[in-house]
Amino acid sequence: MLAAGSDHRAAPLAGSAAPGPSPAVSYWTLSLRRFLRHRVAVAGLVILVLLAAMAIAAPLLAPTSPTAIDATAFQAPPSRAHPLGTDSVGRDVLSRLIFAARVSLTVGLLAVGMYVVIGTTVGAVAGYYGGTVDLALSRLMDVVLSFPPLIIILFAVSVFGRPSLWNVILVLGLLGWPAVARLVRGQILTLRQQEFALAAHAMGASDAAVVLRHLLPNAMAPVLVAATFGTANAILVEAALSFLGLGVQPPTPSWGNMLTDAQSLTVLERMPWLWVPPGFMILISVLTINFVGDGLRDALDPSLKL
């Protein structure tokens, strides 16, 4: 096999040198242009904005209250009164679906945002400085990864007292970062030894500048994947957390807890209106986040040409 060490890699053009065809156009304008050329990413962004708008305007859009019980229709199929049918206690699935966007999008985006930021920071510091700093931070990651998460969550319930959305975000954020940190650290470990990083350093760039401008943009690919998958996961895990007493409590709907209600063969086979809509919403959200992420990475990383 070819030894990796003999490869020649050039520094990405970001930052110092003039990147584009015309020196008058800034890096950010160029990135924006590149992003806009990425049609799928733009479509993703539009859908994401629409979803967010739906969450904000839920009371205006939902046909009924998400908690109102229709005593005459339990697990009823779609009808004129209930376009997407009713759930196991006679509530309108469409209304719940719309309101659920609030909880699910908030949890998905904020929790993941939180642990990506923490994880990237810790991972970058550990990977860049190495030595004792790396040893200490890496062992901290080991410790967090070693705790039984369920016990931590049950403990958190007793500490927080009242359940709320923010507690879920906090718990997911605090438990999720080490995996991201390990990914970033692994990338930085190899990147920092490469010529472009050494060159930037030799040219007098500060540590922060080397990490932020040169290393992180090249290390972000796995982080974006982790983030998109983390979002789907957070949306589903939120439902599990509310089962343990953390997070949004009934009757507040979330896509995750709507799916959790569908745990039988009968529902799977004969009541698709109980699981297709929330599953579809999660799919759409994660897909769009993924496409936007792809677009962003391409736009910010000039070494990749479309």
Binding site: M1, G186, T190
Partner: protein
């Protein structure tokens, strides 16, 4: 490297100790204990008090921890509160089924993910790329229990190809084929769930590498695309995959809670859930200890693997 390894291993011991202290404390502070939750009308008040004393729950946390630690240092992980069996046995009997399921699933998921990831990376933004992307996200947008249920419905009930639940046919003649037959469905569900994420990681880091100048140079030299992919790109795209493998080592033994639950697989994940729902502290501590060792080991192996794949990586 050797000094680094020695340091890494030495530092593991105080960390393990710290983890057990904190976990024990957190468990003690978590609401509910194994006796509190007994509400059995056939028990008298005296029965409840006797149990509390027998389990040492009438003593302060630090004494309980000290006793536990003293026993652990002598190689005794204690007795399960709920069953009375030794913790080593409770945990030990889960090892083989757990590794069978998670190991098969892991191998399957890499077999699916690495070729698929490489393929879609080289066909980026073509329809095959979008199709795979869509499938991957479809898989993760439904909870695992639902995928499992779907598998049971399709292969177990409609087509009747595969048995549902358990590891063997009850009263059957057993044998390897029977065991394998029971393994297919849970392992596939788990593999499909895991392969999705892995495919994306391989795809994205392949893309990253394919954009690098040395790959373009290789192309310019007229090398065949397959050779470029395999020799130049794949190896350099492995770093995140190694990290993930390191992170997956503890998960290998920790089991897959939901899949085990749905398919009635007697793995470590279910033991953990049972122990938590019964607040079986000794069993939980046993599991925590093993997890901590595996986390340390997995990450150590990943670090060693980094420097094998990329010899420029050095640890001081």
């Amino acid at each position: 490297m050797q000094r680094y390894l020695a340091r890494r291993i030495l530092i593991t011991f105080p960390i393990l100790l710290g983890i057990t202290v904190v976990t024990y404390l957190i468990m003690a502070l978590t609401p509910g204990d194994p006796v509190q939750m007994l509400i059995d009308p056939s028990m008298t008040q005296a029965d409840v008090e006797i149990k509390r004393r027998a389990l040492g729950l009438d003593q302060p946390v630090y004494i309980r921890y000290a006793k536990w630690l003293a026993e652990v240092l002598r190689g005794n992980l204690g007795y399960s509160i709920s069953s009375g069996a030794p913790v080593t046995r409770r945990v030990g009997e889960r090892v083989v089924p757990t590794l069978t399921l998670t190991g098969t699933a892991l191998v399957l998921s890499y077999l699916i993910a690495v070729p698929t990831g490489v393929l879609v990376a080289s066909r980026r933004y073509r329809s095959i790329d979008y199709a795979v992307t869509f499938l991957v996200f479809l898989g993760i947008s439904l909870p695992t229990f639902f995928l499992g249920l779907g598998g049971i419905y399709v292969f177990g009930l409609r087509l009747r190809w595969l048995p549902v639940g358990g590891m063997t046919t009850l009263g059957g003649d057993g044998g390897l084929l029977d065991a394998l037959h029971h393994l297919i469905l849970p392992a596939s569900v788990l593999a499909v769930a895991g392969a999705g994420a892995l495919t994306r990681y391989v795809r994205s880091s392949m893309l990253e590498v394919l954009g690098q100048d040395y790959v373009r140079t290789a192309r310019a030299k007229g090398l065949v695309e397959a050779v470029i992919l395999r020799h130049h790109a794949l190896r350099n795209a492995l770093i995140p995959v190694i990290t993930l493998a390191g992170l997956q080592l503890p998960a290998l033994l920790a089991g897959a809670v939901i899949t085990e639950q749905v398919f009635q697989w007697p793995g470590m994940g279910r033991l953990t859930i049972e122990a938590i729902s019964q607040r079986d502290y000794p069993v939980l501590m046993g599991i925590t200890l093993i997890t901590a060792v595996l986390v340390a080991l997995g990450n150590l192996l990943a670090d060693v693997a980094y420097s094998v794949v990329d010899p420029r990586i050095r640890y001081e």
